[in-house]
């Protein structure tokens, strides 16, 4: 029973990692940029939701929609304002740039909302469901269900819409896509918008579990580990990687001395990189000489 309980908590924690990792992978696949600020965008999304729900007092459904829109706009603005000039630059420069962005977003959030942790007024928080002795919080169910819905939505989007297919094309070859009349720059903007909206979803879903504060974006580092364990550049891989790390953390917490669980994600990552560097779902190939 205890094992099952841990599995469920790990599952919901893993979904959060997976959602953030999904944002990384989406941007990486489409633009070959590595967005280190994904966790901080999630934090910003949570704070926006906090402002709308607690300070403006809007109903939750409206808060959810408005937050997604605002954050999508933010993601787009970020791409237009800062990252567009970096198209074609070495990946390392973009990585550094997004690390810098993360610091700036954190400082700005600290300036606006202060550093003390806040709780979001959310109907998803508080309640529990009991199934044959298993105790599951509403927020955990919300995270798992929300992730599943989002994944399904993304799958349909990439599989069946013109825009989704255009995004796939741009991710495979920017120049060829451009020749075929795909507005590559606008597609990039939209990818950033979607990715920021996913991050905001993760922020809203995780807010009842861990309080909102400017440093909550550091979860992003673990999500990075998740993305790599799953195979960087694979969308299902991101979710699977997140689940693996989320569940592993819970079990390490139970069976190993305290503190190890905090670094278990990184140990797993290093082990993965040594054993199978391309991840569970391999997409990256190396040029052989």
């Amino acid at each position: 029973m205890e094992i099952l309980q841990l599995l469920i908590i790990g599952l919901s924690q893993g979904c959060v990692y997976g959602l953030i990792a999904l944002g990384f992978v989406l941007i990486y696949k489409a633009t070959e940029m590595v967005n280190f600020a994904q966790g901080d965008i999630m934090m910003l999304g949570a704070f926006v939701a906090f402002s709308l729900a607690n300070l403006a007092g809007l109903p939750f459904v409206l808060v959810f929609a408005a937050t997604l829109l605002i954050m999508a706009g933010f993601g787009m603005a970020l791409e237009r304002g800062v990252l567009r000039s970096m198209i074609g630059e070495p990946p390392f420069a973009v990585l550094m740039l997004t690390i810098g962005l993360g610091f700036v977003i954190r400082a700005v959030a600290g300036a606006i909302w202060g550093n003390q942790p806040r709780a979001l007024d959310s109907p998803l928080a508080g309640g529990i469901v009991e199934i044959q002795g298993l105790i599951i919080g509403h927020e955990n169910i919300a995270i798992v269900v929300g992730t599943a819905l989002l994944c399904a939505l993304l799958y349909l989007f990439f599989r069946f819409t013109r825009l989704g297919i255009a995004m796939q094309a741009a991710s495979q070859n920017q120049l060829a896509a451009y020749y075929l009349g795909i507005p590559v720059k606008r597609v990039f903007s939209l990818v950033w918008a979607i990715s920021a909206a996913i991050a905001a979803t993760a922020g809203i879903l995780v807010a009842p579990v861990s309080l909102i504060d400017p440093l909550m974006g550091f979860v992003g580092i673990k999500a990075f580990a998740a993305a790599i364990v799953g195979g960087f550049g694979s969308l299902p891989g991101a979710i699977v990687g997140g689940l693996v790390i989320g569940i592993a953390e819970q079990f390490v917490y139970l069976f190993l001395p305290p503190g190890v669980s905090e670094v278990s994600a990184f140990i797993l990552l290093l082990a993965m990189l040594i054993v199978r560097p391309e991840g569970i779902f391999a997409t990256l190939q190396q040029k052989k000489v």
Binding site: E32, G88, L95, I99, L101, G110, I221, G259, I267, L273
Partner: protein
């Protein structure tokens, strides 16, 4: 424009190309040597810190600027160097023995960590180093017998040849000497086959491998050397802060080190020193700005990292070659006065994935 007519092979070996360089670097050396005569002890301490950053920067520049591998975890080597040095000192080893031992220890750790790294490129490597940094921080926090855990550990006073070097003047000279040796060693290394292999790997792994360079070994060597220099800086840093605790070495320290080499100018040794001066002066400048700015802004928590991030962004977007790159541009402008072409230093962009498989 200055052209150097080479009349014997010795001129190819000289570290300095012409008399002008020899004169200016000689003057710089004289100034830093005589500085303790005029400067206040506070400024000497600050300069010593700048030297320490520059030594660490040498290590990171070798890796990032010359081998093209980005490490997000170099604070780990700073920490390992500092703790190892302190441990050796408390075991009764003299300073002159303990520093090289700590450096060697870091090199060995770097080599071992670098071994799996040879299977990775680019972003994977960066994340792996970040993971290594977190794990090493965890070990430092929990290995209380050696590191003192959360409570930290006091760094014993250091003596060289019977005289205490923990005083500001002595410490200043020790740091200066170590920095000079590190820079000279790096200059020479970069002209050796090993150094040239580093640069070849940075520019194109595929062509480097085609030329018969053992990629794995070269990357491992670069990482070990880089770790050694950073560990050397760490052992001096221990004396600078006097009391080691885990929160002195965080992810932010790694990012600061990276900021230093980017701002200074990737791929140039002068850039290390510019970056170190920048990194050393910035906290002072921010502290000063806090007094001047209105209270509402000055009290923002996390203002300092925020400004660090902003500067990093501005440099990457507007001057990716860093301070040194800007200086080279200005010099070229004067050299070629009315004929300066803006496109001389234009950045090369690559839009195809195949172009980016290097």
């Amino acid at each position: 424009m200055r052209f150097v007519l080479k009349t014997n092979y010795g001129q190819d070996v000289n570290l300095f190309l012409h008399g002008g360089q020899r004169f200016w670097y000689g003057l710089l050396l004289a100034v830093v040597l005589l500085a303790p005569l005029v400067l206040d002890t506070f400024y000497l301490g600050e300069f010593a810190l700048v030297f320490i950053w520059a030594i660490a920067g040498t290590g990171l520049m070798l890796l990032v600027g010359y081998t093209g591998l980005v490490s997000l975890g170099h604070a780990a080597f700073l920490a390992i160097g500092a703790y190892a040095h302190t441990y050796f000192l408390t075991q009764g080893l003299p300073f002159v023995l303990s520093v090289p031992l700590a450096t060697m220890f870091c090199a060995v750790v770097g080599y071992i960590v670098g071994l799996p790294a040879l299977r990775m490129t680019g972003i994977y490597f960066a994340i792996a180093t970040l993971a290594f940094e977190r794990i090493s921080a965890f070990v430092i926090e929990h290995w209380e017998a050696v590191t003192g855990g959360h409570f930290g550990i006091r760094v014993p006073d250091a003596t060289v040849l019977g005289s205490n070097v923990d005083g500001p003047v002595g410490f200043y000279y020790v740091c200066l000497g170590v920095l000079a040796v590190s820079l000279l060693a790096t200059m020479n290394l970069l002209r050796s086959p090993t150094g040239r292999a580093f640069i070849a790997v940075r520019d194109s792994e595929v062509s480097a491998q085609s030329m018969g360079i053992n990629l794995a070994r070269t990357k491992c060597t670069a990482f070990a050397l880089s770790a050694a220099f950073t560990g050397l800086a760490g052992s001096l840093f221990a004396h600078k802060i006097g009391y080691l605790a885990p929160d002195a070495f965080t992810v932010q320290t790694s990012i600061q080190l990276l900021l230093m080499v980017v701002v200074g100018g990737l791929g140039s040794l002068q850039g290390i020193v510019y970056g170190a001066i920048f990194l050393g002066l910035l906290p002072q400048a921010i502290a000063f700005a806090r007094d001047v700015l209105p209270q509402r802004i000055a009290e923002i928590p996390g203002l300092e990292p925020g400004i660090f991030g902003l500067i990093l962004i501005l440099f990457l977007v507007f001057e990716p070659l860093g301070i040194h790159g800007r200086w080279v541009k200005i010099r070229t402008w004067f050299d070629e006065f009315p004929l300066y072409r803006k496109a001389t230093y234009k950045r090369q962009r690559s839009y195809l994935r195949t172009e980016r498989v290097r």
